[in-house]
Amino acid sequence: MPEFDVVGKPLAAVGSQAIVTGKAVYSPDLELPNMLVGKLLYSPHASARIQKIDVSFARAVPGVHAVLTADDIPGENSYLYWYPDQPLLVSDQVRYQGDAVAAVAAESEEIAQAALEAIIVEYEPLEGIYDPEEAMQPGSIQVWPDKGNVQSHYVDHWGDIERGFVQADVIVEGTYSTHYEEHAMLETESAVAYLEPDGTVVVYASAQAPHRDRLQIARALGLPEAMVREITPHIGGAFGAKDEANIQIHAALLAFETGQPVRIVRTREESIRTHVKRHPARIRYRTGATKDGKLTAVHMIAIGDTGPYVNAGEEVMMVMANYGVSPYYVPHARSEAYTVLTNNPICGAFRGFGVPQVTFAFERQMDELARRLEMDPLEIRQLNGLKTGQRFQPKAIVRQGDGMQACLEKAAQLSDWHAREKISRQPAPHLRRGWGIAASFHKSGFGCDVTDHASAAVNMAPDGSVLVRTGAADMGQGAHTVVAQFVAERLGVSPSQVNVYKPDTTLAGDAGASVASRATFFSGNAVVRAAEPIRKVLLDLAAEETGADLDLIDLGDGFVHVEGERVNMPVSDLAGKAYEKNLPMQASGFYAMDYPDAELPDGSSGYEQLASFGAHVAQVLVDIETGQVEVEQIVAVHDVGQVVNPSGVRGQIEGAVSMAFGFTFMEELLVEGGKTLNNSLESYLIPTSFDTPDIKIGVVELHDPEAPLGAKGVGEPPINITPAAIANAVSDAIQAPVNQLPLAPDRILKAAQAVVEGGMDAS
């Protein structure tokens, strides 16, 4: 690994001074003169025909400035994320509890609420479809008249699984299920919109994808994209819930209609009710291996309930299929995923994007195989872990696969895996201790052959300070800190001299959404490329001024260095000189991921893909009388490439493990008849300071040739593995399979009881 001045240091996060003093401005904090309060009227039904909407009384309420229905939308009445299926305002038939039928703008919260109550909507409740497997049956109630409920059936396959299963000495099968998870980001969806005198519609929004939002807002308004400007101020968390444009479109519509600024902030109840969830999945696995533990074939079928509107749901299910067999090498694989439409809450992007569900299921299979073969769970993973050049998807091979073994080894070492049997498995008559290991693989970005790029612009002022313009949203994960450290590193200035401008679609180029663990990799590469021409000018000037050979010159700590020795020539002086000499001190950078061609084992052509591996070990203590589980420790090891900021890496891993802990034990959004029952943080419980487990972190820094200064993303990988590691540990403790999340006490008791009655094989 190269030596760095700034990269790899635990610097404070960009914006942190503003955050601790209460001065950081989030969308709900914005105030503009004559600003109105916007609110939406949501359907009380999950499935109903709208017979009549009468807004005349609402419009007559004093202080109400606008009441919009579908008829009042100047452009297209659709979110238009992937499919034009979800109306911004529904006029004919509501298909889930989050459908909005009207939007109001009023002078106060109370008046807006009164206006909502004055809107008359007559519904004819319809029978809905609320079970995905039932929805797949012919003759079931259809969510849409013109298409069936199976939105897609995506299949990844290679080899010949029949042959693979014939080669197997042992075959294990299992059915697994996971539940709805709610993002519960602290700041709900929020936006402020207003009009510029020239007609430009400006939207401040809490959003992960400002440029995509701009497109969606422009289509709804019937305006060219260049007349819409979205800015993302401080963002109070997102985790996927703010990937898709939501109420910022309605705020823009209301501002457009009234000519006044409009703010919409969803209440917690509205937030949970409306936005996408983590897909509940039902997953079936069949896995074959030889008697020495080598995998021969895997067949996976996942069914995901995506609700009535597709949004990113189909992509999530495709990713489930994509990751169905990783992080292991499987010669014969078939990985299938069904995206099923129902009248349940919509599902889509949530940190991990389908991978936590399949990793949980497949890692349970791996442990079951190990148990049947009397192998150590670590050993079977070491034996099958993906290596460089091996296929993990139909056309993709791993570019750098050393991370799998390195992560497993480090996780074993940090958890003292081999010495675990020295610790009591039964420290008290009612307690059982167990250990679980799990691994995963994640890529950065969307994958080959899809739109996936980032641009950025860098500008050094004559005093040597630097302005970075990026379209990449920072929702707290640290994207702007990474970008600032990269630019400071390449231009030899202090990070405090680098100002990362809040994403603004009018000032910054499209960096794509801050999703898919891609911001560090994509926007990192874009800013490094943008800094390069400026660096070149500075180095040339330094060579000219010092008379030293260009090869011997470097920039660092705000000064020129010759042969590693700092000379008394500040970078800021060079910047000033560049301006005097009419040399450019601004540049932009663009990056799209390269997928170099590779030959697949069968001789056909494929491509290389970047890989980020991780391995976790969980140690748990189960009370077999109550079903309560204490997670004594989670060891989380990740191949992050070059660490850009150790505090940031720690934060991403600890935060994801904590969130995964919540998903594993306590977070379950209850849905009945299409309606969520626990729409508050009082009834939907996320981990508190008392719940979060002890976490020990390890990093592996393996180089990838495309990684910006060697760094890879780590936003999602840790959440993929923790549920699997914990489930394997609980299963190890009670010597019974636990194949259903969340691991609620009653389920654990039931599983433990089954073993007492019939032994593990009985279940």
Binding site: P10, A12, A13, G15, S16, Q17, I19, V20, T21, G22, K23, A24, V25, Y26, P28, D29, E31, H183, A184, M185, L186, E187, T188, H234, I235, G236, G237, A238, F239, T267, R268, M475, G476, Q477, G478, S647, G648, R650, G651, E654, G655, V657, S658, M659, S680, L681, E682, I686, P687, T688, S689, F690, T692, I695
Partner: protein, 164 residues
């Protein structure tokens, strides 16, 4: 609704507010006094993002009516730093990455501040208890607990000033 006049101190400044009696302290702080540090993330006392100090006690300001603050001393996150100097808690929150998105930070800081006023030398369990009503969705809380512990240790040290 008839408005009533309230007088209370916020961050050591006397404030006069005329407001409807049904409004919460959070709403008056944010909308009337323009102190936007405390956040509303649930509106019903579940998350702690709106915690402020009311006469030395950490309260969810979304559950307190503004009238209850009459004659009281309120400290918000904006009042922690003095004369441009960050409070050691704020400094340690920054250095220890005790937040990511920062939406819980105002409440988290005030709950921690209240703890340290009552208990200058808390152990990690006591810190956990003090912030148990403050939800954070980004970190795993460990960074926060460490930052508070570090602050307690810092404040135990004799303060070095330029005069000394």
């Amino acid at each position: 609704m008839a408005e009533i006049n309230l007088s209370f101190s916020v961050n050591d400044q006397k404030m006069e507010v005329s407001t409807e009696p049904t409004r919460t302290l959070l709403s008056v702080l944010r909308d009337d006094l323009k102190l936007k540090g405390a956040k509303e993330a649930c509106g019903q006392g579940d998350c702690g993002a709106c915690v402020v100090l009311l006469d030395g006690e950490a309260v969810n300001s979304c559950l307190v009516l503004a009238v209850q603050a009459e004659g009281s001393q309120v400290i918000t996150v904006e009042g922690l730093a003095s004369k441009g100097q960050l409070h050691p808690l704020q400094q340690n929150f920054i250095e220890n990455w005790a937040f990511q998105c920062g939406y819980c930070t105002a409440g988290m800081l005030i709950s921690s501040y209240a703890l340290l006023m009552d208990n200058p030398n808390p152990n990690p369990e006591e810190i956990r208890a003090a912030i148990a009503g403050n939800l954070c969705r980004c970190t795993g809380y460990h960074e926060i607990i460490e930052a508070v512990g570090k602050t307690a240790a810092d404040l135990q040290q004799p303060v070095l000033t330029s005069e000394s």
